[in-house]
Symmetry: C2
Subunit: 331 residues, 2 copies
DNA sequence: ATGAAAGCGCTAACAA
DNA sequence: TTGTTAGCGCTTTCAT
């Protein structure tokens, strides 16, 4: 735990000024090559690395791209993998920041404001809801807020996916189909709700308000909503949950209620996070290409950072039905 | 893309000095409560957030824990989820940094040196190989280097896991069993190699050097080694790969060679990353509890950061055999 | 209770 | 070619 060497230590050891060290390290012109050699030798000897913080304070460019998330959960982890792959042979370092500790609401603005213009040259925000703050760097949103904020966006076809999920249940023969909604402030949540309703309408099934619950993508809220829905005497025979985490929680609740899945109750989720396939029984779901989402966002951001105009500033990716073991015809 | 407000903007708008703003924002004593109110009103109005960088430069404490990785690949992504969960109700923000762009070798030292003592209050390093640099903050290593560096460590029982994998193949009836090793600079890789040899020895099978290849966990190296091994006239009937990514690559190579898996060739990996279960055919493997690894590392780090002495500074977690569809008795 | 000023490690003008 | 110096935005003594 000794102190890391600073540029001053290097300068002292090499017998030059800090300015010269800076120039040598960053390959600027105007330094005698033998001086450069001497400085670099000292650098290697001391194991000096410039402080990202200090240099970014001064120079405003860091070679770092930030991915801002509320939390490192399965969804954002997949995004991260995709971003990492897309950037793997760029010259950028990647920094992922989860800054929702404590406050919860408004992490997007807080994180962006704390990092932008200083630590990162560009940002990808995952499911942001509030981004009306001034930014000094280009920003791309993945699966964003349903607001007027007009950030360049990458998302998947939530409406179509919800259509596929609900139709799948209908085709299996279900007609009492519940829906546990997600965060209503996300554009994608609204679209999944709309897809659900549309599929029912197409099949001539009217929406029973008692079969629509709000889960906000939070396990505790999902639990409450699912419990209420499943304790009804006219409970649904199938439920579409707005994401996998919610669906998995419903599977759990069903189990506690003594309901067999998919015997008594079919459940389908959305996302296809790794946990969905691994669950027992394996969760039926609608796959959205999370890694591709991340990769596309990275590419879009890179274009923006180069000051170029991207061919499209709003990318939508297709979804795919993945039936597994939690959906079956009603008993 | 307007400029973010700084503490100076707040000070000017509130008609006070920057020192007062700083005190008000950070809840220091010695500020009239009405002044505090006025300052906070301006803060809210302007949407001011202190720059993480600037404050960390001065104060040396940031409330941020760093996870340093070479890359965001499946293994480190799982670790990240575990760390995130363990820290979800701590007061710390989480920052993950992938800093191996370009340089490759020595990312650990570089990342640590660039961030420590300034941006982060503590660090978790994932599969680090070189950490002989001075750090100003506590560091915990996950699955580290095989060196004298004596960092607090969390890892899984690679030796036992390799034993399980190899025995599984032996029990299926295989005797020509190949091994594609991982990065030889990781302690865990050495242990997997040892476990492989031990299991063979226990079964009275001698190690054929032609059946041991080096993959370094890199797809291109794995491909070369697998190609060479599988083109032999006395090729193995089963291969144990030191991690899943390697195993998956071998499956691919086998396919290109017209070898049926597991008909002509059984393959087993190590890790059980999400991709293993999703592959076709689903990959047999040895599961190491990656999220738990991350969570334990986080807990250990927290203890260290509080200046306490942890009960143990070296944690080893058990592994579990997960037979799936790429292993079968030899034809 | 408030403010002036120093300084964290670094880079970029500008001088020498 | 090299060094001196002024900040970047913030926190923290130390005066006032």
């Amino acid at each position: 735990m000794s102190r890391r060497p600073t540029i001053m230590d290097v300068a002292a050891a090499a017998g030059v000024s800090v300015a010269t060290v800076s120039k040598a390290v960053n390959g600027r012109y105007g330094v005698a090559s033998e001086t450069v050699d001497r400085v670099l030798a000292v650098v290697a000897d001391l194991g000096y690395e410039s402080s990202l913080i200090a240099s970014s304070m001064r120079s405003r460019r860091t070679g770092v791209i930030g991915v801002l998330v509320a939390d490192f959960e399965p969804f954002s982890a997949e995004i991260l993998k995709g971003v990492g792959q897309a950037l793997s042979d760029s010259r950028y370092d990647l920094l992922a920041y989860a800054g929702s500790r404590g406050a919860a609401e408004g992490w997007e603005r807080r994180s962006l404001s704390r990092l932008s213009g200083t630590l990162i040259d560009g940002a990808i925000m995952v499911t942001p809801t509030v981004v009306n703050v001034g930014t000094e760097v280009p920003v791309v949103a993945i699966d964003p807020h349903t607001g007027p904020a007009d950030l360049p966006t990458v998302e998947s076809d939530s409406y179509g996916g919800a259509l596929q999920a609900t139709r799948h249940l209908i085709e299996l023969g279900h007609s009492r189909i519940g829906f546990i909604a997600g965060r209503r402030d996300l554009r994608s949540s609204i679209a999944r709700d709309a897809g659900y309703r549309r599929a029912l309408a197409d099949a001539g099934i009217s929406v029973d308000p008692g079969l629509v619950g709000s889960g906000s993508y939070r396990q505790d809220a999902v639990r409450v909503a699912a419990l209420e829905m499943l304790r009804r005497t006219d409970r649904p025979t199938a439920i579409f949950a707005a994401n996998d985490i919610s669906a998995l929680e419903i599977v759990k609740v069903a189990g506690e209620l003594g309901l067999d899945v998919p015997g008594h109750l079919s459940i389908i989720g959305f996302d296809d996070v790794p946990e969905a396939a691994k669950a027992t029984p394996a969760l039926s779901t609608v796959r959205q290409p999370m890694q591709t989402l991340g990769a596309e966002a990275a590419r879009l951001l890179l274009t923006l950072m180069q000051g170029e105009v991207p061919p499209s500033t709003h990318i939508a990716l297709p979804t795919r039905l993945v039936p597994r073991d939690t959906t079956a015809p009603p008993a």
